[in-house]
Amino acid sequence: MTAEIAHRSRSSIALPQVLSRVLICVAGLIFLFPFVWMIATSLKPTDEVFATGTSLLGSRIEWSNYVVASTDIPFGRILINSVLIAFAGAALTVTVSVLSAYAFSRFRFRGRATLFGAFLATMVLPQEVLVIPLYLMVEKAGLVDSYPALILPFAFGAFGTFLIRQFLLSLPPDYEEAATLDGASRLRTLVSVVVPLLRAPISVVFVFAFIEYWGSFLWPLIVVNDTAMATVPIGLEMFSGERGTDWGPLMAAVTLVVLPSLLIVVLLQKQLQQGVSMGGFGGR
């Protein structure tokens, strides 16, 4: 939006601008090349993968790579696992964040600042530090290879609470007062008045939590052994362990997981574009 102001009055585009656009397209193509090569390789017979040099095509189109990839590993189930875990994890993160942010912005209690400060400090704590005790907890609870183990431990980060609280602090309480005067309870007010106003930050928190869960690797690697419980990255890891250097089927499998990921980016692009511009950054 911003840069166009400069060009608003001009009907023709300056030469540097054309050059700039061509260049960015070239950069974009180079950037996407690994994906192009992935798809090309996924359609080559394995014994031709390195023999075909720089050619995108092998001697024939080997569709059977996709058959191998999709029958060896239950991709459907793995995809459903991943989507559900990411969805449930993001929903839980949002719910908890809204409640905590509400408490930290609308209530006063002794030690509030200290508690919030301690909580906020964990934004820079690498979760990797915690995996060993978390694994032992999960194992004691008999939850290895279970959805709760994959969802719960990482739904309580401070980022969502921080972002929504920032938003609540700048929100005039008039709406809430009006609702309370109408005799609505606090919870009722929160759900039907405050939450709708928090739509933007909620969608940001949701999107970033979703992406976080979707890509998580170390933790599932530790608590998932059962193929039926695998998420997309783990399913792919298992498949590559079985296939070694069988590049055709391997790339077919990678293609099968890149496509839904691409779909996620397309579906969430609006939130990605908007979300961060209102001051929400994904915490990693």
Binding site: T2, E4, Q17, R21, I24, G28, F31, P34, W37, G53, T54, T95, V96, L99, Y102, A103, S105, R106, F107, R108, F109, L115, G117, T122, V124, L125, P126, E128, V129, L130, V131, I132, P133, L136, L152, F156, F159, L163, P172, P173, E177, I211, W214, G215, F217, L218, P233, E237, S240, W247, V257, S261, L262, I264, L272, Q273, G275, V276, S277, G282
Partner: protein, 312 residues
């Protein structure tokens, strides 16, 4: 304007605005709302953090009874395990290279995209974000294929008459490959965040400096960079932390090899804990990582006054 979590000094959270009547007092009123979040915070963050310190004083197998060994794990870490120092060194090298290049390129690209204008910027921001969402293990497999001795990269170099190196088999090139792959994978994240920051800058300010006759480069350093500095600061903090946690890339691309050339702290932690059955020693590594990240972050905060400006 953009707010970043780092602006609000944690200890001095501003008191809520709005009339007092809206504010209940005491834990009792707040607890139903505060409860779930703080319970999870205690159970999944505070307890494990303390527990990992305790575990690090034990010889703790995956199966069987733990044995108290005092500081033995830390002694071994500092004086007995050569792989620890190498993985620490690698992690630092990776963090510096990755963070520096990532921010420089992401900043440059964001600024470039801003000058290209609305739709183009929107499209390319999303394009650069794609690898962020594709599973790392898949990205690593693609790079393993491309960087194979007879892979496409060396084939292309061969076309122009260059004998390509063994990318993943020589320490120097393996590290470089790891950084390049991670950059390709992770850059889109900062492009989105910085792009949003740039979009938040008041266009009239930029326009004013354009009218003053400043070129694109000097405009960037005189206007955009200072106004963007809080966002850049935030990105730096988060990118550095991300770099210290690097695990999936070496796990999938090089398995930490050749030798220990691309072994990293978290990879070393994972292997010791879950492959070599030494949860106690792995916890000691985890604590070193924790202290290190906290130190580095603290240093960054202490330096922020020098270059971050918080007034729009």
């Amino acid at each position: 304007m953009t707010t970043s979590p780092l602006q609000a000094a944690p200890a001095k959270s501003p008191s809520p605005r709005g009339p007092r009547s809206q504010q209940r007092h005491g834990f009792r009123a707040a607890s139903p709302y505060l409860g779930p979040g703080m319970l999870g915070f205690a159970l999944f963050i505070v307890v494990p953090l303390v527990a990992s310190l305790i575990i690090s004083f034990f010889d703790w197998p995956l199966f069987g009874a733990p044995q108290f060994v005092g500081l033995e794990n830390y002694r071994y870490l500092l004086a007995g395990d050569p792989a620890f120092w190498i993985s620490l060194r690698n992690t630092l090298i990776f963090a510096i290279l990755y963070t520096g290049v990532n921010l420089a390129v992401a900043l440059g690209l964001s600024y470039w995209l801003m000058n290209l204008g609305g739709r183009w910027a929107a499209f390319f921001r999303v394009l650069f974000f794609i690898p962020v969402v594709t599973p790392m293990i898949g990205n690593a497999l693609i790079f393993r294929l491309m960087l194979n001795d007879d892979g496409i990269v060396n084939q292309m170099l061969g076309v122009v008459g260059i004998q390509g190196p063994q990318w993943l088999n020589t320490p120097f090139w393996a590290m470089l490959s790891l950084v390049v792959m991670s950059l390709w994978q992770g850059m889109g994240y900062n492009i989105i965040v910085l792009g949003a920051g740039i979009a938040g800058i008041n266009p009239s300010v930029i326009e004013a400096s354009r009218i003053d006759g400043a070129g694109a480069v000097s405009r960037f350093f005189r206007v955009v960079f200072p106004m963007l500095s809080p966002t850049i600061f935030f990105c730096t903090i988060m990118t550095v932390i991300g770099a210290f946690k690097v695990f999936a890339q070496p796990y999938a691309l090089t398995e930490g090899g050749p030798g220990n050339a691309t072994n990293t702290l978290v990879l070393h932690l994972y292997r010791n804990g879950f492959s070599f059955d030494k949860l106690g020693y792995a916890s000691a590594i985890a604590w070193v990582l924790f202290v290190l990240v906290m130190l580095v972050t603290a240093v960054q905060f202490s330096q922020q006054k020098r270059w971050v400006t918080y007034d729009s």
